[in-house]
């Protein structure tokens, strides 16, 4: 589904990603972990096409297509979704109309029927149950005045509406209490299918108790230092990141 080869990227001339290799197949769940400032959020933004980052080398294929030849909105319509760490607020634009426009853009790209406001109303009322969101949030302005948790709930609602092939979730757990984390974690699990993949970006292993990854990668200094199965998350929880960094430095291993 996603194949990243020797990807390098910089922001304002400063290199942030220094050669990333990663393969994600359909049905897999990958977790990218690492200390703050390691470049893990950058990886998500580069894949999603954030304009502030410059891709300086490497290649990324998404479903066999050259990702960097597609505009950000094209990538989204092709099935690449990013759940934001800090979703923005947009006054005056109702959440429901934003969700419907996003849904219809994707439907249009896939040659499916677009939904009129009434049809969408039925559709979205089913979807909000999945994330246990209250109806009133549909009529409110997009993310405006939402708490941190409500914003994250809204991100997963958007994921449920768009049903992406690959969802990159950037720090889904930040700003969430235990109960909300469980609800959203369960929702993400229910959305996962054999033809879809997940890339979870997180600092804390806690979220990986609910969304269990097949692979865990430790990213630091713009490189993946270690990749292993889900047991690595537990080890990181117990021992922190330093031992991975030290082992990597001592072995010169990469």
């Amino acid at each position: 589904m996603l194949s990243i080869k020797n990807l390098t990227a910089s922001i304002n001339g400063t290199p942030v990603l220094k050669g990333i290799d990663l393969d994600i197949k359909a049905g897999e769940i990958h977790a990218i972990m690492g200390p703050n400032g390691s470049g893990k959020s950058t990886l998500g933004k580069v894949l999603a096409g954030h304009p502030a980052y410059e891709v300086t080398g490497g290649e990324v294929l998404f479903e066999g297509r050259d990702l960097f030849r597609m505009a950000a909105d094209e990538r989204a319509r092709a099935g690449l979704f990013m759940g934001f760490q800090h979703p923005i607020e947009v006054p005056g634009v109702s959440n429901a109309s934003f969700l419907r426009l996003a849904y219809n853009k994707k439907a249009e790209a896939e040659g499916r029927d677009e939904l009129d406001p009434l049809e969408f109303d039925d559709f979205i009322h089913e979807k909000i149950k999945l994330v246990a969101m209250r109806e009133e949030f549909l009529d409110r302005s997009l993310n405006e005045g939402f708490s941190g948790g409500e914003k994250k709930r809204n991100e997963i609602l958007q994921m449920a509406v768009l049903e992406p092939k690959l969802a990159i979730l950037d720090e889904l757990d930040s700003g969430l209490d235990i109960d909300a984390l469980r609800v959203l974690g369960d929702a993400v699990n229910r959305l996962q299918r054999a033809d879809r993949a997940l890339l979870i970006i997180t600092h804390f292993p806690r979220i990986l108790e609910t969304i269990q990854p097949d692979y865990v990668h430790v990213l630091s200094g713009g490189r993946i230092l270690k990749s292993a199965g889900k047991e690595l998350a537990l080890e990181l929880e117990e021992r922190g990141y330093d031992w991975v960094l030290e082992a990597s430095a001592a072995g010169g291993a990469r």
Binding site: P51, V90, S97, F98, L142, L162
Partner: protein, 479 residues
């Protein structure tokens, strides 16, 4: 900066064509002879000629104001043509058949309904081309309600007593530089009179078109709503694309008696000049409403998207006790456009209320200022005002300023002012794009959300038009 924030702003101006029509014009320049010529051409009574000459003599003593946050070459008043009319066999068209077909085609192209059969249901239109009113639709139907809706020139002839009573009663000829100029040389415009207790059954509308390259447009609009009457009035305007500047200096006066209500909506789309700021209309307009009677209400809604320079402050004088003034404004500037616009709410009567909602959007290299005065006079017991002025910047070479003036002379007054500035930046656009929404649609959605509080005050068809217009104006500023 991303490519995205440089493209959504360069749609061509589609109303920029010139109608090739023979015009009956006076030579350029301004003196008492020109004023006498205009007055004679319109067959005006002596008192009106005196009104003009007095205004002119006062204007000579005034200096052009320079306090607004706009910069432009001062117009040369001796180079402007003060009277220009499409040539006709008869001075006033008796029927539509006598109107030059070229003129009819012009308005067809502009989408202005001047043929009653083909017109939008429920909107009566007065059409002003350069200095004259071409036609007014639904006049006969309105007459059965006692409503007068006609060109200003016609009103001077048919209803001189009303004109004499109200002309200059809200904006005196000596009010300001451009109001004095307008009072001296105004050529045509619309007159509306809604008699006591009548609710006007349809929206009334005036469509202004400047065609002549050297002419100025100086129209005069007067709307009077008697006790308990109400009316909704719409104004639209366009001009051809020239590389010189044309001056538009209108005066609009509204008078609302006891319990009367006037809603005045404008969608202003004068030619704004090109990307480099060459050409475009100088829009220097005085608009003021007098809430003369108890519990009267005047509401201004404006969507300002055109003109090279905009300088206008639709205002309300809240004289009657419990009267209400409202100002809802969206001002969009792009490229080299400059706008200094806002309102004045003068609270004189007791328990008067005013609301100001202003949304400024700047893109390109433009400059957009809100300037507003809220004044509470000593006997305005219980006066209340709420002001909200929001600015949105697109890109980083434009500017937005807010100049609120608040003068309160009564302790029981409550005045609230809120202001915000936001930016459509990369983060917002990226969020929309990440959900599969292309940049231009994203901007249009963000802008419409930003302007929602104003758009909902517009009549339905105008609101749809305004939404489209804003998107068009911003096309190309993000890319």
């Amino acid at each position: 900066m991303s490519t995205t924030l440089n493209v959504v702003t360069s749609q061509d101006y589609k109303y920029g064509f010139v109608t090739d029509i023979e015009a009956d014009s006076v030579a350029a320049g301004l003196n008492e002879e020109v004023i006498r010529f205009i007055s004679a051409k319109k067959g005006e009574p002596d008192w009106l000629l005196e009104f003009r000459l007095k205004a002119y003599r006062h204007w000579l003593t005034l200096a052009e104001p320079d306090w607004a946050n706009v910069h432009y070459p001062r117009p040369d008043f001796q180079k402007i043509v003060y009277y220009s009319a499409p040539k006709a066999k008869t001075p006033k068209y008796a029927s539509m058949d006598e109107v030059d077909p070229e003129l009819l085609r012009t308005f067809e192209k502009l989408g202005v309904p001047i043929n009653e059969q083909a017109s939008l249901a429920g909107v009566a239109v007065d059409v002003v081309f350069d200095s004259v009113s071409v036609t007014t639709t639904y006049k006969e139907k309105l007459k059965t309600f006692g409503i007068i809706f006609c060109s200003f020139s016609e009103a001077v002839k048919e209803h001189p007593e009303l004109i004499r009573k109200y002309l200059g009663s809200v904006v005196p000829p000596a009010d300001n530089f451009y109001a004095a100029l307008n009072s001296a040389v105004f050529t045509d415009g619309s007159f509306v009179f809604i008699p006591k207790g009548v609710t006007c059954p349809m929206d009334l509308s005036t469509y202004f078109r400047i065609n002549n390259k050297d002419s100025g447009q100086f129209e005069r609009t007067l709307i009077v709503a008697e006790e308990g009457a109400s009316v909704s009035y719409l104004e639209g305007c366009t001009a051809p694309q020239f590389d010189t500047n044309q001056l538009h200096a209108a005066v609009v006066e509204l008078v609302a008696l006891d319990q009367a209500s006037i809603k005045y909506s404008t969608v202003q789309n004068w030619y704004a000049g090109d990307k480099n700021g060459v050409g475009g209309i100088f829009n220097f307009v005085t608009k003021r409403g007098l809430c003369k009677g108890k519990a009267s209400r005047i509401s201004w809604t404006q969507v300002e998207t055109g003109s090279a320079i905009t300088w206008k402050y639709p205002s309300c004088i809240l004289l009657g006790d419990e009267s209400i003034g409202e100002f809802y404004s969206v001002a969009l500037t792009n490229h080299k456009q400059q706008a200094d616009t806002g309102t004045k709410m003068v609270h004189i009567g007791k328990n008067t209320k005013s609301t100001i909602i202003s949304k400024g959007i700047s893109a390109g290299d433009s400059s957009n200022s809100y300037r507003g005065l809220v004044k509470v006079q000593p006997r305005a017991e219980g006066a209340r005002n709420f002001s909200q002025c929001d600015s949105m910047l697109i890109g980083h070479t434009c500017s937005a300023s807010t100049f609120p003036y608040i003068e309160v002379q009564n302790r029981s007054a409550r005045v609230e002012h809120e202001a915000t500035t936001s930016k459509i930046g990369e983060e917002q656009l990226f969020y929309f794009q990440q959900r599969g929404i292309p940049a231009e649609e994203a901007i249009s959605m963000i802008i419409n959300g930003f302007c929602k509080d104003v758009f909902r005050e517009l009549p339905m068809e105008f609101a749809v038009e305004a939404t489209k217009l804003l998107s068009l104006k911003l096309e190309g500023s993000v890319g």
